[in-house]
Amino acid sequence: MNDRVITALGNGGSPLINDRLFKAIGKPLERKEDLRLITGKGRFTDDFTFANQSWAWLVRSPYPHARIVGIDKTAALAMPGVLGVFTGADCLADGLKAIQHNPVPSTKYDVKLRGPDDTPVFAGRHFLLPVDKARYVGEALAIVIAETRDQASAAAEAVEVEYEELPWVADSQEAIKPDAPRLWDDLPSNVLVDATFGNVEETDRAFASAAHVVTFRQHVGRVTGMGLEPRAALGHYEADRDAYTLYAGSGGAVRQKKELSEVLGVDQKNIRVLSFDVGGNFGTRNRLYVESGLVLWASKKVGRPVKFRAERSESFLTDYQGRDLVTEVSLAIDKNGKFLAMRADNLSNVGSVLVSLSPLGKGSGLITGNYDIPLATLRARAVFSNTMATQAYRSSGRPEVTYAIERVVDKAARQLGIDRVELRRRNLVKREQMPYVNAVGSTYDSGEYEINMDALIQLGDFAGAEARRAEAKARGKLLGIGFVNYVESSIGTPKERVDLIVREKSVEVVIGTQPAGQGHETSFAQVTADVLNVPFENVFITMGDTDVVTAGGGTHSGRSMRHASTVIVMAAEELVALGRRMTAHLFDLPLDQVVYDDGVFRNIADETAWTWFDVAAKAATTDLPPELRGGLRVRCDNEMHTPVFPNGACMCEIEIDPETGSLEIKRYATIDDVGRCINPLIVHGQTHGGIAQGVGQAMWEGCHIDPASGQPLVGSLMDYGMPRFDNLPTFRNEIAEVLSPTNPFGVKAGGEGGTTGALAVIMSAVEDALLPVCGPIEMDMPATPLKVWTALQAAKAAPRKVKSEVTACP
């Protein structure tokens, strides 16, 4: 319902971009990838099989922290069907290297995260199998290869690992203490990042003179990606060619190939990585997993292809996890409700080894949110702990900081007695201020925040909310209303390459992104079709095979549409130049007599015209000179660093049953400025799914660890709360297209916005619902019925008078 698109016309930026001539761009075209997926012909990793393949099973640590005293393979090697058992010592003996994750965000627009006292960041050493210690529950310590999966599993039980249990720490606020158990001897503590940004002195001065100071502190908990396809990897080493082939779904095969070559000590040309359909990624599959290296190495050891397929319980333990940030923010506000300055202190739990600082770094540049706050300081810290490593997860870092700023603004509104929409309005960055440099140095490219907010108020019928609250009250229910603005950033790997190849009846686009449901085969074809003026049906996208895709940055951080559309239009301009030369040659014309005009090459002398496909057909049957012998084929590389800042606003209404604490989302509305929207069907779908993942974290999801034993308590879908059919509402969404000036099409991004505001808006609604009974409480996510019921019972036991509190600073 209400899947409306507010369209804006742009100025293009390339002679090949003309809004009025678009036939495919902006249309809700059905996806090209769907036919295979709805008929059971998808190509997911475990769908690939070699006739003589063997199976892998991992021996995993049952302890959060333990020294590996010894591993005895004898009994396992004697088990039926076993082809090999390999440990970390074997990896070392074969010279395997640790994975180089390149974990510190390093474009010039990323904040510069450093170690304590401005030292380089220490990442730990991520070997395929460790030799010294197990550092988290589930860490692979040995791999067993057998004829069947059952045999490998049985033999893994017979591998005897002797452990010396060590003290452990899982919680970041414990891990940061000086006397906490230490994971890595290389560091004096578990702290691997401690960096401060912004103008500390001026911020202190602003706080000292402020009329009000409001502070909010919370832990944004840990969740897991839960893509429905369990991780899998199929490795095949062919000795006769000295060639390694890996089938493994990921966020980008090119990156996997590079990192595998470093780990295995093998030239990149000897490795081929294939990643076709991927059953959910959300960031968790962007970084290399140890199993991908292990199946290749083990395939060489046993002389057979080796397949690994995770159980769901293994995915819960060993998929890279998300979030886990403790955040404290303070706002200094003047007597008129204008924000003067902000302080933030963010503590990220990276787990046992550093895989990515994206969750900490991506949020750091956005701490001031959509608001014009002249001064800000941020202390950003990261610690190791005895938990699975964290990585970017859906809208990495942005939901966390949005949560912090939006919750503290809600709290300020309550304390100052100012309407929360009005307080936001007074402080929003204005359209005239764009491009706007925020207090920590991020340049917001474009956006119409107040227009978004007003459009949302209409879309969600904010004016009718109080009547709905009264109606719910009459039924004995508590209705809460949440309201949030958000701005996020899309940076991502700056380089992308495309090959455009025109044949007699088709255009092939070879590109290095890697979707997991985002519809690149469709949206990239829409762009290509319109810039070349060829039918959408005749454009085909090739991705995921490193023997064809030679370079490319993969898919993450909302980068793909922006990078792809830019490099495609650049390549198309080169292709037009080549097409003119080709036409001139084929039809024996002087070059200046051939003009290109929106899909046709024309002889200006007699108005004869040839389409792309005419030229390609003629070229295919002509003996061409060397400079044209490749046919209508160009390769284009682009490097684009400037980030964009998608933004929007969302509201929701949640009804609470005070007798049971149960919660029901009654209404959920969003406005999302994604820049140019190439395919609204796909963009709305991204928003829906993004909302669900954010709502999931706010209401149900959590990778809980038992504080007594360090054991993860979540191992299956029976104990991990998921968004389901019957706990989500039908959404109301509108797309706002404020074109970004940073790239030819004006694309921002559409994949993360749904998630970015969702955590904050749910908790805003929950606390608003409870306000009349419980007063202004702050509840940790997820807001489970138990927590809500407990809060209501506590309020009943000790009724409190609710009033607007105003905190004045001394």
């Binding site: 008929t39 359909d277 159980e311 059919f725």
Partner: protein, 164 residues
């Protein structure tokens, strides 16, 4: 190893397989029909739903021998040749799939739900009836729309309610 025989999408098949072989892996690994997926191992997600004699079952927790002599329909058998089933058309038109991993089980469950319901479904009825299937990509919004539309088309096309 027992000889397991059944009809799959109208074709008689038989394979020797260990007696603990699950139907999902019999289909995937013995028959090479990889359209049926396994997402969770614990009957929670519904990626593995197929129909046995018209009844939807979670094939990751059904033994292959339980389908002995019976008729199994999988996602590969949903379309009639080139002609897509109304649920397939609706999923495509409504963008009710993103990564596509849950989609086969989602559609097999939906067809069973629609056929059993006796009349077109409302969105609330879909949300309740599909409770045994999970999707991580779509937030369910478009899946609900697709199943409602497919149910309307199937009943308009002459589908009769099954007598229980």
């Amino acid at each position: 190893m027992p000889l397991i025989a059944m009809r799959v999408n109208g074709e008689e098949v038989e394979r020797e397989a260990p007696d603990h072989t699950l139907l999902a892996f019999f289909l995937r690994e013995q028959l090479g029909m990889t359209g049926t997926h396994v997402g969770c191992d614990t009957s929670q997600c519904g990626c593995c739903v197929v129909r046995i004699d018209g009844e939807s079952v979670k094939s990751c927790t059904t033994l292959a021998v339980q389908a002995q002599g019976r008729s199994v329909t999988t996602i590969e058998g949903l379309a009639e040749g080139e002609a897509l089933h109304p649920i397939q058309k609706a999923f495509r038109r409504m963008h009710a799939l993103q990564c596509g991993y849950c989609t086969p089980g989602m559609m097999m469950s939906a067809v069973d739900l629609i056929e059993r319901h006796g009349k077109p479904l409302t969105p609330d009825e879909v949300r309740e009836g599909m409770e045994g299937n999970l999707c991580r990509c779509t937030g369910y919004h478009n899946i609900v729309k697709a199943i409602v539309v497919a149910s309307e088309e199937m009943y308009a096309g002459g589908l009769k309610a099954e007598t229980p």
